[in-house]
Amino acid sequence: MEERALWVRNLTKQYRNFRLDDVSFFLPQGCIMGLIGENGAGKSTLIKSILGAVRPESGQIEVLGCDNKSADFIGLKEQIGVVLDEACFPAGLTAVQMERVLGGIYKNWEKETFLEYLKRFGLLSDKLFKDYSRGMKMQLSIAAALSHHARLLVLDEPTGGLDPIVRDEILDVFNEFTRDPQCSILISSHIISDLERICDYIAFLHHGKLLFCEEKDVLLERYGLVSLRREDFEALEKDAVLSAHDTGYGVEALVRRDRIPAGMKPEYAGIERIIVALAKEERR
């Protein structure tokens, strides 16, 4: 049986105006899962539930084989690298001071690794955290998450607000991290192109419900993009079409590859288009 880095079962968390509703999925070890969803979809609630920072009403969460409600989970957090949606370090501390602080918190803390990441990201170690740009703050958080031999990274919008070059660098770092088959990543992001680049699995949260959790390649194989004349489009089965729009010259449609006539050759649709279409379909 494949090892699961993360296993969420029937997770429900109720707030006054929001409900994370019966969410279930698992993340195999050595894989990267991208968590996608609009603002307020429940991504951060899900991540905080996994980390034990909020208490769900029902459901079970196993992280690296350990129930996150058990007493052992505190110790297991040594193996979880966390980046929250805001870099939460004290504004008046420098990276060097943060290194000393985190060195006193994590038993497996590696100063050299942290300093190497600082160097790699071009972060000045004596600069105050408050004087860092948003990108630099997130890079510092990522450096910290990667410097205590974590086996699972849980990252909430780590690339949000970063410029493309920095994002590219960070995505490379995540890819390097999962070269070790023991290491896995759960990453939430609005930037679907980033997730498409690095993720093995895509989970899509919409209004607190998990619409799907699929292998990225399966999604890309299932859906394709076709450009058709209007009469050819109208001849398609209704349930073959996920979304369509009139281009003026004909119709461009996102279709299920297994429901279209043989001989029709759909093009690569991209995860973003598939996600948007699925979200709109759900809304209908």
């Binding site: 905080k48 501390l93 602080v101 006193g104």
Partner: protein
């Protein structure tokens, strides 16, 4: 725990300088005032405020959310703040003690009142009692929301205290113990209160979500 203490130390060094200066001036004034109780109490209250300041920064910077993800037991996270509070109050006690000696050595013409030292110890106990009341509120409600509750609680305690005091005065029941008994009693009472408060704070922290 070591990391958390270190973090608070760095934050204190960064933001606590003005507090420290204020405390130094006020504590020094204590020895030259006719009614020093107020000044001693202010100094001790400063240590309570400093802990509040540290926790306010944590909330503002969302460090508390990150700390909830650290491999640290809730008991340790809470205990660390109690340790910081006691270290700050202890530092205040030491500062006042040093100043007392300083005045004795460098200003021999000034007649030293040893009851002042006893008053310092008593105020230290009052400070610990205040911490015992305040910290569970801070852990339960957070810094912003705890303010109003603290005001209500302090008003209630002072109100009830004054009422009891008035009744005792009318019935001529006074405490006639020696200073040493008063200070020891106060110390024991405040230690018990702090221990109970620690348990409450841990329970409050465990109920919080981040």
């Amino acid at each position: 725990m070591k990391g958390l203490l270190r973090k608070d130390w760095y934050v204190f060094l960064k933001y606590g300088k003005l507090f420290s200066l204020f405390i130094f001036v006020y504590s020094f004034l204590t020895f030259f005032m006719d009614n020093p109780t107020f000044y001693i109490l202010i100094c001790m209250l400063m240590s309570v405020l400093m802990v509040k300041m540290l926790m306010a920064y944590e909330e503002q910077e969302k460090w508390d959310s990150l700390a909830a993800c650290f491999p640290i037991r809730p008991e340790q996270l809470v205990l660390e703040k109690y340790l910081v509070s006691l270290l700050l109050s202890g530092a205040m006690l030491v500062l006042l003690g040093i100043e007392f000696l300083g005045v004795a050595v460098f200003l021999p013409q000034k007649a030293l009142d040893f009851s002042l030292l006893q008053m310092v110890f008593l105020m230290f106990c009052v400070n610990m009692l205040m911490l015992a009341v305040e910290l569970p509120l801070l852990f339960w409600f957070g810094v912003n929301r705890s303010r109003i509750w603290l005001m209500i609680l302090v008003a209630a305690v002072f109100g009830i205290g004054s009422a009891i005091g008035a009744v005792l005065q009318e019935t001529y029941v006074f405490w006639r113990g020696s200073w040493i008994t008063t200070v020891t009693g106060g110390f024991v009472l405040s230690v018990i209160a702090l221990l109970l408060s620690l348990r409450l704070s841990v329970a409050a922290y465990k109920k919080r979500e981040f």
